[in-house]
């Protein structure tokens, strides 16, 4: 009987892992292999007749030589947006966790509410808000906070603002989750032990919220680095990010091997940066 149970127990583990493994196999491993082989194929082919895999590593050299400024811009924009999200998100998550009282649930619902409309529609509406003859620009000009020929739309500011806006909830939710877990008694204990509000934050709240900080910055930085919607809707040709290049190589350029090579480079760079970051934050065991 016990032996049967043990055998079943072992099998039930496989049964439980099975669906997820299958899913990952079909939708991650196979596309990954396809991406890698495409990235090493001869660009002489076409999407219709296929590409021949020739171990053409020059694809990588080509895209780095041609598109490195886009890579740099992507990481700079994503980095600025992540820092802005962290500042805005931390303040808000802190307020929801410790100061909201009975409005806690309402505020959390409001944080998630934008997800009820499409990402695309929301970004498009930013286009209206930031438009050259929109109310925002008009008001800023009337108040002389902006020069007469100044604009917001189609500037790097608009792109970074769009990224910040779109990824803010992904920062707030993990931050809230780890701030909310902090026992308020710890703050009182720190106050009792001669820590003023600043020291309490720095020595108690901040270190205990690090898992949320790491989680939130990763969930913001990674998708923001690969994003192209914000740059294409709110930016100009000089604010294009690597995502825009990959997208146009795949679509208008029909150059799959170079598009694939650029995607792989983006992916590898992100993985390396995440690993360095997580190690530096000293939170491997928290993840």
């Amino acid at each position: 009987m016990a032996a049967l149970q043990r055998a079943l127990g072992r099998n039930s583990a496989y049964l439980l892992v099975g669906p997820a493994a299958l899913w990952l196999g079909i939708f991650f491993v196979i596309p990954m292999i396809s991406l890698l082989t495409t990235s090493l194929s001869d660009p002489a082919g076409s999407p219709i007749y296929g590409y021949s895999m020739t171990w053409r590593f020059e694809n990588y050299v080509d895209v780095v030589a041609d598109y490195w400024p886009y890579l740099v811009r992507s990481f700079v924009y994503a980095g600025i947006a992540t820092v802005l999200c962290l500042i805005l998100g931390y303040t808000l998550a802190y307020a929801i966790a410790f100061k909201a009282g009975r409005f806690k649930t309402l505020m959390l619902v409001l944080v998630v509410a934008p997800f009820f409309t499409s990402f695309l529609v929301r970004t498009l509406s930013w286009k209206l808000i930031l438009a050259d003859n929109g109310w925002l620009v008009e008001t800023l000009k009337t108040l002389h906070l902006m020069p007469e020929d100044g604009r917001l739309l189609a500037t790097p500011i608009a792109v970074v603002a769009g990224l910040t806006y779109n990824f803010l909830p992904f920062m707030i939710l993990p931050l809230y989750a780890s701030l909310e877990k902090i026992d308020p008694k710890l703050n009182e204990a720190a106050a009792d032990l001669y820590a003023n509000p600043f020291k309490r934050f720095w020595n108690v709240v901040w270190p205990l919220s690090l898992p949320g900080v790491v989680g939130g910055t990763l969930l913001t930085f990674i998708p923001a680095s690969g994003d192209y919607i914000n740059a294409s809707l709110l930016g100009n040709p000089n604010t294009q990010m690597v995502g825009n290049r990959i997208q146009s190589l795949f679509t208008t350029g029909s150059d799959y091997p170079h598009a694939a090579a650029l995607s792989v480079i983006l992916m590898v760079l992100i993985v390396v940066m995440v690993m360095v970051y997580v190690r530096r934050a000293g939170t491997e065991d928290l993840l």
């Binding site: 710890l186 009182e188 106050a191 009792d192 032990l193 001669y194 820590a195 003023n196 205990l208």
Partner: protein, 382 residues
């Protein structure tokens, strides 16, 4: 020690009042004076306002009215991190992300002290935590965590150390051991300890002075001996140990000075009570007598104790505890009272249930309480 010499750092709470935003008055015009260097216990049932009082002293709660002084320094509105007061919290509140040593060093580091590590080493030794120094709180047992909380507060050498039911989470055996330990540490460091507890035995064995608190007010304060032998209210009489409270009518006062007594008619028997133990002005009162002061003897055999005598009681129940036996006695007027008898072996067995007995006690052990108070106040359900 007097205020005049300017050195005493007694803790004084005057007219302290706390009303929570929901309108509940948790502490009401509390006056307390806690001498520097004493081991003081604040004893009361759960919910009586002990934690609220400590939090006001620590600065974690703002009093609605009243003042808090240490010596002649008014700290009523001082920020918690500026007060020379530290707290051992009810559930310890150790910092989970810091090691034991870092937890202990937290206070001195925030104050920017020098040779913090040496201080920590010393205090970890005092609390027998040296081996645990590099562990995290979650890796420690309850008793060890309790000692960390103590060490973390003690290292700052506060003028007043507040302990909020510090032993409440420990099992009985560990609690007894820690009581002795705490007392030893207090004697060693000589700081003022304010120990909050709902355990009357803990308060009595540890503290020099005990204040009994109920419903937001101090009922009585004194040495454990004074409180036990001469309670002023029915609450104190029942909460500290147990008492038999019997209705009586005051007949009058006799004698004067230390010998003054009050005569009380208790269901037909006149008993005398020392005037120092009379705590009522009215013509009726509760005559109180501790169960271990009640002597019994089966009818017909001579009772060998002088004092107030009653005959016609019946034993209605007994429970044998080993060291003593607890008898339930039905008095002629229909009230049940309790008697604890040491099992000295003198009787050569127990008094059987149903036996008619004579009852007596020495008048100097009785006390008289106000009849308007609830005779059931402070009785703890077991």
């Amino acid at each position: 020690m007097s205020l005049a010499d300017g050195r005493t750092r007694d803790l004084r709470l005057a007219g302290l009042h706390k009303q929570y935003p929901n309108g509940f008055a948790a502490v009401q015009s509390l006056d307390l004076e806690i001498p520097q260097g004493s081991f003081f216990a604040l004893l009361g049932p759960s919910g009586c306002g002990k934690t609220t009082t400590l939090r006001m002293v620590a600065g974690l709660e703002v009093p609605t009215a009243g003042t808090i002084h240490i010596g002649d320094q008014d700290i009523t509105h001082e920020k918690p991190y500026k007060r020379p007061v530290n707290t051992v919290f009810q559930n310890y509140a150790l910092f989970p992300h810091l090691t034991i040593a870092e937890n202990v060093e937290f206070g001195p580091r925030r104050r920017g002290e020098k040779d913090v590590s040496a201080q920590a080493k010393e205090i970890l030794e005092l609390t027998e935590l040296t081996e645990q120094a590099s562990k995290k709180p979650a890796q420690l047992s309850g008793g060890q965590q309790q000692r960390v909380a103590l060490a973390r507060a003690l290292i700052n050498r506060p003028e007043v150390l507040l302990l909020d039911e510090p032993l409440g989470a420990l099992d009985l055996k560990l609690r007894r051991a820690m009581q002795i330990e705490l007392k030893r540490i207090q004697e060693e460091v000589g700081l003022t300890f304010v120990h909050v507890t709902h355990d009357q035995e803990e308060a009595m064995t540890m503290a020099d002075t005990v204040a009994v608190m109920n419903l937001g007010v101090i009922e009585q304060m004194g040495t454990p001996y004074e409180l036990y032998t001469n309670p002023r209210t029915t609450f104190v009489a029942n909460f500290l140990g147990r008492s038999n409270l019997i209705k009586g009518t005051v007949l009058g006062r006799e004698g004067s000075g230390a010998d003054a007594v009050v005569k009380v008619d208790m269901h037909g028997t006149v008993v005398t009570i020392s005037a120092a133990r009379v705590h009522t002005e009215s013509s009726e009162g509760w005559v109180g007598i501790r169960p271990e002061k009640v002597l019994i003897q089966p009818e017909g055999t001579p009772i060998d104790a002088p004092g107030d005598h009653f005959s016609g009681a019946v034993v209605t129940g007994s429970s044998y505890i080993g060291v003593s036996t607890e008898y339930e006695l039905l008095m002629p007027w229909g009230q049940e009272i309790t008697c604890f008898e040491q099992n000295t072996g003198r009787r050569g067995g127990l008094v059987p249930v149903g036996t008619r007995v004579d009852v007596s006690w020495r008048p100097e052990f009785a006390f008289l309480l106000d009849s308007s108070q609830d005779a059931e106040a402070g009785i703890q359900e077991t």
